[in-house]
């Protein structure tokens, strides 16, 4: 009996815990004998630590240990020839400093106050080397990344746009942006002997954390327990295990006590990744009737000297629009900076800002409405991979969004519409992000009282994973959501992929679906019915009859072979109405509409929130966010939440999230694609394009702050 709970508007299943302060995040577990770890950060951008005077720190009140490159216990995974090498920066393993803010010591003390103070007492002597933090100065030192995915790409003829009748060729700059989840990155670690360690850590993937810590300390993964039930936002900053997490484990081993290591907000600007500063050149060539004849997309982005980071900024130009000639080039510029990390929408958001802005510029050159221009270059198959889409309803996104924003009120001529003193404009920006389904597992337990418990080692960084999984289980089993508990964030649960790349609902949702089907089949069999019987049966009744205390099943789930024959993407179209003040330069977003083809929507309420949240992230990207270096010292000058401006309540209007809500027939049994990334991808261009429509000012360097409007 299908009750069609998928698509319901269930309140968040962990809502009560979150509104009462009862939800425990990784730094909030009362572990007996807890100690506090505080990192000391380097104040040079390149060189070596030649000496550290730690005497005062060691003798300071309550200090248990001071770990430095000169006394740090060896981390096995950091050593040359390690069986399983740890990735990234090897903290305290040598005395090299690669970037300003790199941790060079760790103080462990009885209290947070004492550890924090002792950390200030360490006197460090450096041998400074020249450093490079200026992206613009080092632009020409960009190199093609080692990672093969991002090699140069050509379809048809390279740079064909140059010979087209109508040409747009522009550079677009995006500064470094910080994830800045509200929760500080924190790890609490304690050992049980020398072979078993437990972590409460801010993680988007407990299985990945388990592997990384096991590798670093050469442990059997079974003996690494990772807990991360509540994650106070991450947006990509917790996709990997960071060196400070390893340091917490290292310190706990040394002091033989639990250690809680919390990064400061300032440290989060250098130690947990960011969206890298990127300059893109877009060349668009079109016929006079608006058909694209060539797209060239080049991107240079910042990376660290000690670790390469790549992302797909140029990828979007290969498939979003039909064009016989497309080529992309991508280079990274290694600098004395912390390594970037994927940040919500990752490279696709960066790339979409450039492509969708350039397309907007082209629309004015051609005198064709931006939506019409997109329709004239619509693709019904994936031009990059030459495969059919598994599903694509982008056209429907254009139509519904245009209606909701009031596109018909948009003036074709920029700078011509006013409301009082304010200039009014409208813009569109689109996005696409791969719809993925990775292998995942789930365990289900049915109890005689009719309640069901499902476990999977996935995470919930905010989208409401537990809520959507509960709805899938309720729908599949045909029972009420209140009978189901879903548990996550524990590495002892059946394996699931890291919560990133908008794949959780698809991957884990499939595992939940499949394990529920398996349970139904088992119950049917126990009831003497054919496994696939749809006759309603009394679940607890069967357990009671057979005197079973519990029925437990674990199910692996992965995509079928058929998926390879399709190109699978989620699509979005964002629409903005903005007001620009000609005298003050202030930009106000008055209305945002996000229309998304994300396949079947599982949990309407949380999905809407996810879309609204992505839009706010996009607003920050386009209007307020920028991490700024002082190039004389190679240090951030605004590494805090007062000077790095994430949007506040007063910045944000009501945002409308609209779902096409048509199941994808290929990707998974539920038909859900993914929302996390496309909620943000395209927003920046929509707003920037609306600013142009309002003011006639094309700002190609984000963020669009009042000074840029006035000086344009």
């Amino acid at each position: 009996m299908r009750r069609d709970l998928i698509g319901d508007s269930l309140n968040r299943v962990d809502g009560r815990l979150k509104v009462t302060g009862g939800a425990k995040y990784s730094g909030e577990y009362k572990v007996p004998g807890l100690t506090y770890g505080v990192l000391v950060s380097a104040t040079i951008a390149n060189g070596t630590v030649t000496a550290m005077d730690t005497k005062a720190a060691e003798r300071a009140l309550g200090v248990l240990a001071v770990i430095t490159p000169f006394n740090a216990p060896k981390v096995p995974g950091y050593q040359p020839g390690a069986a399983r090498a740890a990735r990234g920066l090897k903290l305290f393993n040598d005395n090299q400093v690669h970037f300003n803010g790199q941790p060079i010591a760790l103080v462990v003390a009885e209290t947070f106050e004492r550890a924090t103070y002792a950390a200030t007492l360490i006197k460090t002597t450096y041998e400074k080397q020249p450093f490079e933090t200026d992206f613009h100065k080092n632009f020409d030192k960009g190199v093609v990344p080692n990672e093969g995915r991002y090699k140069d790409y050509v379809r048809g003829e390279a740079d064909a746009y140059k010979n087209a009748p109508v040409v747009v060729e522009q550079d677009y700059m995006l500064p470094s942006e910080m994830h800045n989840p509200m929760e500080l990155h924190v790890t609490t670690a304690y050992w049980d002997g020398d072979a078993k360690v437990t972590l409460y850590t801010k993680s988007q993937g407990v299985m990945g954390s388990q592997r990384s810590i096991a590798n670093a300390f050469d442990l059997d993964p079974k003996n690494v327990q990772i807990n991360s039930r509540f994650v106070g936002g991450a947006f990509g900053s917790s996709l990997r295990t960071w060196p400070h997490e390893v340091a917490a484990v290292q310190a706990a081993k040394l002091v033989r006590r639990p250690v809680k290591l919390t990064l400061t907000r300032e440290q989060m600007f250098t130690l947990v990744g960011y969206r890298p500063l990127t300059i893109q050149k877009i060349g668009l060539g079109a016929s006079t009737d608006g058909k694209l004849v060539g797209i060239t997309h080049e991107s240079h982005s910042q990376t660290a000297v000690y670790e390469e980071f790549t992302e797909s900024a140029v990828g979007v130009s290969r498939f979003l629009y039909a064009s016989p000639n497309v080529n992309t080039r991508y280079k990274v510029v290694p600098l004395n900076v912390g390594v970037p990390a994927p940040m919500r929408g990752p490279g696709e958001a960066t790339g979409s800002f450039a492509l969708e802005s350039a397309l907007d510029e082209l629309s004015y050159k051609l005198g064709i409405d931006p939506i019409e221009l997109r329709l004239r270059n619509y693709t019904y198959t994936d031009p990059e991979r030459n495969l059919p889409w598994s599903s694509k309803f982008l056209k429907e996104c254009y139509q519904q969004g245009a209606e909701r924003i009031g596109w018909d009120k948009r003036a074709a001529q920029p700078g011509t519409q006013r409301d009082g003193e304010w200039m009014v404009g409208y813009g569109i920006g689109c996005g696409a992000f791969g719809a993925y389904r990775n292998k995942a597992s789930a365990k289900i337990k049915l109890l005689p009282d009719g309640t069901v418990n499902i476990q999977s080692a996935t995470s919930d960084i905010g989208p409401g994973t537990g809520t959507s999984m509960t709805l899938i289980a309720a729908d599949t089993l045909g029972i009420g959501a209140e009978k189901i508990t879903f548990e996550l964030g524990n590495s002892s649960f059946p394996a699931a992929p890291t919560e990133g790349g908008s794949q959780t609902c698809s991957s884990v949702g499939s595992a939940v679906h499949d394990v529920c089907i398996a349970l139904k089949q088992k119950l049917n069999t126990l009831a003497g019915l054919p496994a696939d019987s749809t006759t309603p049966i009394d679940y607890p009744g069967i357990l009671q009859k057979l005197n079973l205390p519990v029925l437990e099943l674990t199910q692996d789930s992965q995509a079928g072979e058929d998926a390879k024959n399709y190109s699978m993407y989620s699509f979005s179209a964002h629409f903005a109405q903005v007001y620009v003040h000609p005298v003050t330069g202030v930009v106000k977003v008055k209305k945002l509409v996000a229309v998304v083809d994300g396949g079947k929507i599982v949990s309407h309420k949380t999905a809407s929130s996810q879309m609204i949240g992505g839009a706010v992230g996009g607003m920050g990207m386009v209007l307020t966010e920028e991490a700024v270096f002082d190039q004389n010292f190679g240090r951030y000058v605004n590494g805090n939440l007062a000077d790095y401006h994430v949007p506040v309540n007063a910045d944000v209007p009501d945002i409308e999230a609209i779902f096409i809500d048509k199941p994808d027939p290929i990707i998974n049994p539920v038909g859900s694609k993914g929302l996390g990334e496309i909620s943000l991808i395209g927003v920046a261009a929509a707003v920037a394009n609306a600013v142009y429509n309002a003011s006639g000012k094309r700002i190609r360097e984000l963020p669009i702050t009042p000074d840029k409007i006035l000086m344009a």
Binding site: G15, G21, L61, G233, R265, N649
Partner: protein, 210 residues
Amino acid sequence: MSKKPDPPKESEAILSGSRRDFLKTSSLLSAMALTPAAVIEAAEHQWDEKFADAAEKIPVTLQVNGVSYSVKVEPRMTLLDLLREQLNLTGSKKGCDRGQCGACTVHVNGVRINSCLSLAVCNEGKKVTTIEGLATGDRLHPMQEAFIKHDGFQCGYCTSGQIMSAVALVKEGRTQSREQISEFMSGNICRCGAYSNIVKAIQEVKNNQA
């Protein structure tokens, strides 16, 4: 001439277990008029850590969610760290520790403040309300209910601060318009971007009161 300090009385020993404290801070030295030799001597005795604690900590009595607490704290401990680390009331969150995000918002004598910038010792005799003190038994505060209904959060980390701020906002009468609600909720950052839902939750509570 150095004077050997008296060993502290048992009642002055505080809280946590074994400790190896050394008395090396300049303020302590000047305050206690001890020479370094005496401090080192003190540190070498059994009572060093107790002495250190007693010298560094001062007593504070305050009410949190209707419960009276008498604690000893170092003057540099913030109200937020007292709540989170010593009283195990972790509902109030630390997002910046510098008054820049609002996650630590609590009410002190009925007024919303950032507990990360308030020294615990400054709260002597004060009445503190945290998110843990908002519900009445199992019955949630209307603002908590409204946040659930309107999904005024995602990851939940800023939520305690948002709700404490929102409850105060309604009391302050800052709900005359959507713009006013937004402006006077701008001291609470939500990186998940739940702002418009937060505004809806506040509007509902306000309307139900009217």
